[in-house]
């Protein structure tokens, strides 16, 4: 199926140089081709679709860009169902490289931003892949250190987060939304697969330090940021902290932690897509507040469930202090999320409103069981 989807995508993209609409259709078609009836992947697919559609807001002449999110989705879905090392590495690279191009596109070319981004991404990819190979070659400790460093650079975990605020605020909001949402799944998936429950004490300490620093840096940095896109950048850093803290649990509660991490990633993704689209195309005040509450983790919204499962698994692994830090951080994040929600007033375009609406709908998931069980089944 993935092969077929790739073929369709290639054909469509080639033809889209002539007929712009064909690129969109090919992208959607290939996304639908890799559709799996697994709630987790369904939502990931939905996010990819939203990314793809919202790209229309940038208003480029050619339709080739629509292929990029579709390509990332295919890699992401493939990563969920493969376990051999080369495939994983390929998926990782395929899910990450399209974003290099995405940073560039805009009404005007953002070369400087792209250089900033690409520099770090390349370093991250090298470290990550090197770490993967080293772990397979049985240099566990060194490998996991390198892997974690790569992961931190790739997704933007403090103290290696320097590129995130700059890129998020300088690049086009839609590109940033794709970087903040669809690009995050594969690195974490691989990290969970490879490191989950198998870390020694030192790398565990390193991991926890990364998580704690990232949460605090993200939330504290967000408190006084003024631009919405910078707030979103710091929010991403904090969210990556939450997600990576789930890696620290013991093997027994790892499935719950995995579910929590991915629900948190989903919540983060829909929030980011919604807010970045709102920056581009405006949004209703009420909808932006619902998104904010989901990001804060107000009970029954999606963002709450992610933090809830992560905190539960942390408590079960005797990492009470980490759970407390997590909760304290979600409280600290309240001011800037509320401030963020106030930036928006009303929607300015139908497309943006539709995307924000879908994000809000996903955030309103008050019955997380299907996603939860789907995460567990994917984990097995």
């Amino acid at each position: 199926m993935e092969i077929l989807a790739l073929i369709v995508l290639t054909m469509g993209t080639a033809l889209s140089l002539r007929w712009k609409r064909l690129g969109v259709i090919a992208g959607i078609a290939s996304i639908l081709l890799v559709l799996r009836f697994e709630p987790l992947l369904l939502i990931v697919t939905l996010i990819a679709l939203m990314n793809l559609i919202s790209l229309d807001l940038i208003g480029r002449k050619y339709g080739t860009v629509f292929a990029l999110p579709a390509l990332m989705l295919i890699a992401t879905v493939h990563a969920f169902y493969t376990s051999d090392l080369p495939s994983l590495i390929v998926c990782f690279i395929v899910a990450s490289v399209p974003t290099y191009a995405l940073v560039l596109i805009s009404e005007d070319l953002k070369t400087k931003t792209a250089i900033k981004y690409v520099t770090f991404m390349v370093t991250a990819t090298i470290l990550f892949v090197l770490g993967l190979i080293l772990i397979y070659e049985n240099f566990k400790l060194f490998g996991s250190f390198l892997l974690l460093t790569g992961l931190a650079l790739e997704v933007g975990i403090a103290p290696l987060h320097e590129w995130v605020p700059d890129v998020f605020s300088e690049a086009d909001p839609i590109s940033a939304s794709i970087i903040a949402s669809l690009a995050k799944f594969v690195p974490f998936l691989i990290a969970f697969r490879v490191l989950g429950g198998e870390m020694d004490f030192l790398s565990l300490t390193f991991l926890i330090a990364l998580a704690v620093i990232s949460m605090f840096v993200g939330n504290i940095g967000g408190l006084t940021s003024n631009e919405p896109s910078r707030i979103l950048a710091y929010s991403t850093i904090a969210n990556m902290g939450y997600v990576i803290s789930a890696l620290a649990v013991n093997p027994l509660s790892l499935p719950v932690a995995f579910a929590g991490a991915f629900i948190q990633l989903l919540a983060n993704s829909v929030g980011k897509v919604g807010f970045f689209t709102a920056i581009k195309g405006g949004a209703n005040r009420l909808l932006s507040f619902i998104l904010s509450f989901s990001m804060i983790g107000v009970p029954p919204l999606l963002g709450f469930w992610g933090k809830f499962f992560i905190a539960t698994s942390l408590l079960k692994s005797n990492l009470t202090f980490l759970a407390i830090i997590l909760v304290v951080n979600s409280v600290m994040s309240v001011p800037y999320y509320v401030r963020l929600a106030r930036f928006f007033d009303r929607g300015r375009s139908a497309l943006a409103s539709a995307v924000v609406g879908v994000c809000v709908l996903i955030s309103l998931t008050i019955y997380p069981n299907p996603i939860y069980y789907s995460c567990l089944s994917v984990w097995r």
Partner: protein, 615 residues
């Protein structure tokens, strides 16, 4: 059922007044009808056999509404209902022009109903309901004229100051002072009752195994328990040093003062002490001696204080208020004598309560009428006034004669009884109580005579504003006339004690001071001024206790400031600084970022490599 009618009829019948008084002001009559029904029920109960009547309430804890019919409650019930009814009739005229009649009648009737509940309850928890009802209603009624806009409703001379003390009190302030003082006593009382429940598992006064309770906690425990329970009666009956609220309670309508000072509220304290003593039977327990000696002297000193203060007072109602304090002291003291002489002491104290109630209610009603007529709360009025208000004059003469203990009027016989038992107690306690008692009796009669003289005979001339009142004179005339048959009853009961030498000597002395009081009612002196200022006891309420309160207020203020500083300044500023520090990294210069990242990455690689190599 009968109990429900008794307690609820005053309250329910006052509701029409509460709801619709603005449209039909004569609806007040319905409230008086409610009081009349209660009176009828109490008379019916008076004829019922003695015993206990229970209504289940909290069966799981063994707590029930348990009502008692015995000598004390039967008489007290009729007394309360009768006096409330007569004062109700008086109020119809007195309160006709008032600006919130609904409020007045509701709380007046609630007051009566609460008192009846206190009177008939055997269960301490049921009694507490009435007790708190009294507190609430007294607050509402003392502060009835909450607008503080009429000089007539104040206590003290407006604008007068002694040192840091403000010597005048407004109705709203007095209401607050009453409830706050009473609550101070109620807290230990709650604890004491809880302790009794914990020890005895039962709250019915007549059923508690007092012997077991007292032996279980020993002498110190018993003293502690009894004093904490008696704190309620002490504050309610305004014993020293809680007397101030009673004096400033005179800011309420005169009818309220009359009810408050005769049969309800302050009498409730003395009544509760009598009821407890009646069933505890203190003459059987040695553990109770310190408590009863304490109460005896507290009562005597309160009484003496009240009497000499009354001697110095110039305001009609405040004079009567401190005389009430004096009488209450006597009631407490005499009741406490039951430890040595047995039940007879309680009976005498109770009879004194009845006599005092009628006489004092009469005096208050007369005072109210006088204030209405002269528009002045200070003693004033001469023979001209007497001519135009004959009934008031006669009622005052009769009630002062009956109350001061001049032979052969009512109180003489009661006081002879007191003389007799004090004489008996002198074997245990020496002559001190007797001497204090005689002093009190002499002063008492002197200030009553002063009240009579200054208001009707030798006072200053006062302009009269009479409006042809009918109901007011009628009700106090009826009330004072009840004292005469009472005198006969008491003569039959105490004639032997009344003919003893000590009693006769005391009687003659009392008559002498009465005459002196009439002939020379005023004498200017510094001491008199100090007495009139109640020996500056209000410093306790207005200076010392507020200091304690201010201390706590200050404490909480600083705590508040600290919390404010912590949560509104320190933490936000800290996070703001931190946040700025975090964001300072974002200079936008790629080379700087690369340097940072490469540095961190190399550090990590070095550390990891070192560990990989060593282990």
């Amino acid at each position: 059922m009968i109990w429900l009618i008794l307690f609820l009829s005053p309250v329910i019948f006052s509701l029409p007044t509460v709801i619709a008084w603005t449209y039909r002001r004569n609806l007040s009559i319905s409230s008086v009808v409610g009081l009349l029904i209660s009176l009828a029920v109490t008379i019916y109960l008076y004829r019922m056999p003695e015993g206990f009547y229970t209504i289940p309430w909290l069966p799981s804890l063994g707590i029930e509404f348990r009502f008692v019919l015995d000598y004390l409650s039967k008489n007290m019930g009729v007394l309360t209902a009768l006096i409330a009814f007569l004062i109700g009739i008086y109020s119809l005229e007195y309160m006709r022009e008032d600006y919130r009649i609904g409020w007045y009648w509701f709380f007046f009737n609630l007051f009566t109903a609460s008192m009846l509940l206190v009177v008939y309850s055997d269960n301490l928890l049921g009694l507490l309901i009435g007790w708190e009802g009294l507190g609430l209603a007294s607050w509402a009624l003392i502060g009835h004229w909450f607008r503080d806009d009429d000089e007539l409703n104040y206590v003290g001379v407006l604008g007068r100051k002694v040192g840091p003390l403000k010597m005048f009190w407004s109705p709203s302030f007095a209401g607050w002072r009453a409830i706050s003082t009473i609550r101070i006593g109620d807290m230990p009382m709650f604890l004491g009752i809880a302790l009794i429940f914990a020890l005895a598992g039962n709250l019915n006064v007549s059923q508690i195994d007092w012997n077991a309770v007292f032996t279980k906690i020993g002498l110190i425990g018993t003293t502690f328990l009894m004093i904490s329970i008696l704190m309620g009666p002490f504050t309610k009956s305004a014993q020293l040093p809680f007397s101030e609220w009673l004096m400033t309670a005179m800011t309420g309508p005169t009818t309220v003062s009359a009810l408050l000072h005769s049969a309800t509220m302050v009498a409730a304290g003395a009544y509760l002490f009598m009821r407890l003593s009646w069933y505890i039977q203190p003459w059987n327990y040695h553990e109770l001696e310190p408590v009863y000696v304490f109460v005896l002297f507290l009562g005597l000193f309160s009484s003496l204080y009240g009497a000499i203060v009354a001697l110095g007072c110039r305001e009609r109602k405040v004079l009567l208020a401190s005389s009430t304090l004096s009488s209450l002291g006597i009631m407490f003291a005499v009741t406490s004598l039951s430890y040595w002489v047995g039940k007879i002491a309680i009976v005498i104290a109770f009879i004194y309560l009845i006599v005092h109630a009628f006489a004092k209610a009469t005096l208050f009603l007369v005072a109210g009428h006088l204030i209405h007529a002269t528009h002045n709360r200070f003693c004033c009025g001469n023979l001209e006034l007497t001519k135009r208000m004959k009934l008031a004059f006669l009622a005052t003469v009769l009630s002062t004669l009956c109350l001061s203990g001049i032979p052969p009027f009512t109180a003489y016989w009661v006081k002879s009884g007191m003389d007799a038992i004090l004489h008996e107690v002198s074997h245990h306690l020496g002559q001190t109580p007797m001497i204090i008692f005689v002093l009190i009796a002499l002063t008492y009669s002197a200030f009553l005579a002063k009240f009579l003289s200054l208001n009707f005979l030798k006072g200053e001339w006062a302009k009269l504003h009479l409006h042809g009142e009918r109901l007011m004179p009628t009700s106090y005339t009826i009330m004072v006339l009840t004292l005469l048959p009472l005198a006969y009853v008491l003569y039959l009961k105490f004639f032997r004690e009344g003919l003893e030498t000590t009693s006769i000597i005391v009687g003659i002395l009392v008559t002498l001071t009465y005459v002196v009081g009439i002939v020379k009612p005023t004498h200017e002196s510094k001491i008199g001024q100090a007495l009139g200022d109640r020996l500056y006891l209000m410093a306790l309420n207005d200076l010392i206790v507020p200091k304690v309160g201010w201390f706590f207020a200050l404490l909480s203020y600083y705590f508040d400031r600290a919390v404010d500083l912590f949560t509104h300044s320190s933490i936000p500023e800290m996070f703001e600084e931190l946040s700025k520090a975090v964001r300072r990294i974002q200079s936008g210069v790629l080379t700087r970022y690369v340097r940072i990242v490469i540095g961190i990455v190399f550090a990590i690689i070095l550390i990891a490599g070192w560990f990989e190599w060593r282990f």
